[in-house]
């Protein structure tokens, strides 16, 4: 169930539509401090259903919509799309490619789309259940958070193990 590509538009600092095509092996992302690398990681969490603004470094969900800059006005919505290869049928959906999209308007209205058909957040979450993929899985290690498993208490650690089991 490979990640094929991620497209961002209006998501945090990605004011312009930007596409990342992922390699089947190792894709490395580099750039100066503050250029937007961790924002790419936030976008993946977000499109997979992350509902905690805090876990995206914000305080309210609208914080992920491009807020403008010296040279640009703010935008009216944030959008991210993640495309998976499903040729091995690991995702319980009848298609060899799975495209998940999420859009958030400043009004607070949200849209979710699965292979071009509107759906609900829970449909997205249920799709990825049992695949080890998810906004809070152990497969996504955020900046500064690598030690969490070691520093947390025995019971917190258990929760992460349970997710894997």
């Amino acid at each position: 169930m490979e990640l094929k590509r991620l497209e961002l538009f209006g998501f945090k600092s990605f004011a312009d539509r930007t596409r990342f095509e992922f390699d089947s092996g190792i894709t490395v992302i580099v750039g100066p401090n503050g250029c937007g690398k961790s924002n790419v990681v936030d976008a993946v969490k977000w499109v997979l259903g992350e509902q905690s603004a805090r876990s995206l470094r914000g305080r309210e969900m609208a914080d992920v919509i491009f807020a403008g800059s010296e040279s640009r006005r703010s935008l009216g919505f944030a959008e991210a799309t993640l495309v998976f290869d499903n040729s091995r049928g690991l995702l319980p959906i009848g298609a060899t490619e799975v495209e998940v999209s999420r859009r958030l308007y400043r009004s607070g209205e949200s849209e979710y789309v699965l292979n071009r058909k509107p759906c609900r957040l829970r449909d997205v979450r249920e799709l990825f259940m049992d695949t080890g993929v998810g906004a809070d899985a152990y497969s996504l290690i955020e900046q500064g958070k690598v030690d969490v498993l070691l520093q947390s208490g025995p019971l917190e650690r258990r929760l992460i193990f349970e997710e894997a089991a």
Binding site: I26, V28, V30, K37, S69, G132, Y138, E162, A165
Partner: protein, 165 residues
Amino acid sequence: SRERFMKTFESIRGHFQELFRKLFGGGKADVYLENEADVLESGIEVVARPPGKQLQRISLLSGGEKTMAAVALLLAIFRARPSPFCILDEVDAALDEANIDRFTGLVREFLDRSQFVIITHNKRTMGIGDVLYGVTMGEPGVSRKVSVKFSDIHQAGYVTDDKQA
């Protein structure tokens, strides 16, 4: 469900012991239930002893040692319950060059079953990428993606904005 948890747990445990030895070039680590009688509720403890050192609380380990032990545990969970992809955001921040080599060497061993997206500032880590993307902010506040050739990094260490993606 109790059996399923224990099966995964024992698998993680075995992998952790092995991956720790691999990353540290020796030493010993383990993960175990605080209360073996209470499989479904017990917290999980971690111990780790780098080669040649005395076994002590994990809190006394150095910053880089904690990162390496955490990576061993995370990849052990990964191996017990493979996830299709793994995103690592600057997990190498606390590592010295020798440990970065061990870390990147281990990531390569996981390529047969997982895809990686790695964010880094370190040239050695950049070296294991099959594909390299740069993110820049030529226009302040607006992120852009550029493709980076390996020859670019070794000279400047940095991605300049005049490249098109």
